[in-house]
Subunit: 175 residues, 2 copies
């Protein structure tokens, strides 16, 4: 029943933050994010808006759900971010004709113009992060981070699957 296990370090190995993937990804993400926001904020773009803009530069017209999936955020986070971006005129919400539940998201001209200002910002911050590191090691980093987030997401999904119903209304006990 248990999935194949990777070799487990002795427990006390994780006493030290430096050894835990959680700690290392957190501190790296936060310093990356602060560096990036310092640059984008001058163009009126906050840290929370940035990932949605990048996704939209690649493809417009997605529904909010699809957009959430692409940027790796939960749907309420997307709603909040889009509200702000709509208010300042970066995006438009367009209700679907075929399905009135759906909303398609498009950039405004203003939102589209940000691209050429902001892509150099990420490029610069990535370059700072990569300083004095072997590009081959960075390629490994990308591969490993992606695989890890897949591993962890799959585990979450398994957990959810095996726990549906637990919090359902009282009338719905399994037969």
């Amino acid at each position: 029943m248990a999935a194949k296990k990777a070799p487990v370090q002795t427990a006390s190995f994780y006493d030290m933050p430096m050894n835990s993937i959680g700690y290392l990804t957190r501190i790296t993400f936060r310093s990356f994010s602060r560096n990036l926001e310092r640059r984008t904020i001058e163009h009126g773009v906050s840290a929370g808006q940035w990932p949605f803009l990048r996704a939209l530069w690649n493809e417009e017209g997605m529904t909010q759900r699809e957009l959430s999936r692409r940027v790796g955020m939960r749907e309420p986070t997307t709603v909040t971010a889009l509200n702000g971006m709509e208010r300042v005129g970066f995006i438009k919400r367009v209700p679907s004709k075929e399905d009135r539940r759906k909303v398609h998201i498009f950039l405004t001209a203003k939102g589209r113009r940000l691209r050429e200002k902001l892509i150099p910002c990420v490029a610069e911050v990535n370059a700072i992060a990569a300083n004095e590191l072997d590009p081959a090691d960075i390629a490994i980093l990308r591969k490993v981070l992606l695989k890890m987030s897949e591993n962890l997401t799959r585990e979450e999904q398994n957990y959810l699957k095996s726990h549906v119903g637990v919090t359902l209304p009282l009338g719905s006990a399994t037969p």
Copy 2:
């Protein structure tokens, strides 16, 4: 004046989230954090408290400032987390005798007991993350993430140094 630069990828390379360290560390950290919190919450420990507990298991009696530095959080974040942990009885604040500004942080017996319950939780989540990955690659991951956060933190420090005074009260213009 400019620091030595790493080779910069073409700007459009960073159109794709998968290539940006910011995106990859964010999604990995978030899925890691959700997985860990699901386990620790059963012992009454939230995601925000966890890094402080781990630091304190390693060393008690630090000041709040030193503790902030160890866990990689800002000081107001530490204050908030410690308030919560004090309220539920995981820690004690002990004012310093020599310097009345300082406060030393100690675990209670209850806080200390959590260790043996929680270390296996991180170990487990790390093992899930590491599934089907080459340990050598994970070692590279650790090394590279640490170096990147150093690179980015140094850049932030440089920025702050060259900008002190900018937001000081109006009387303080440089001579």
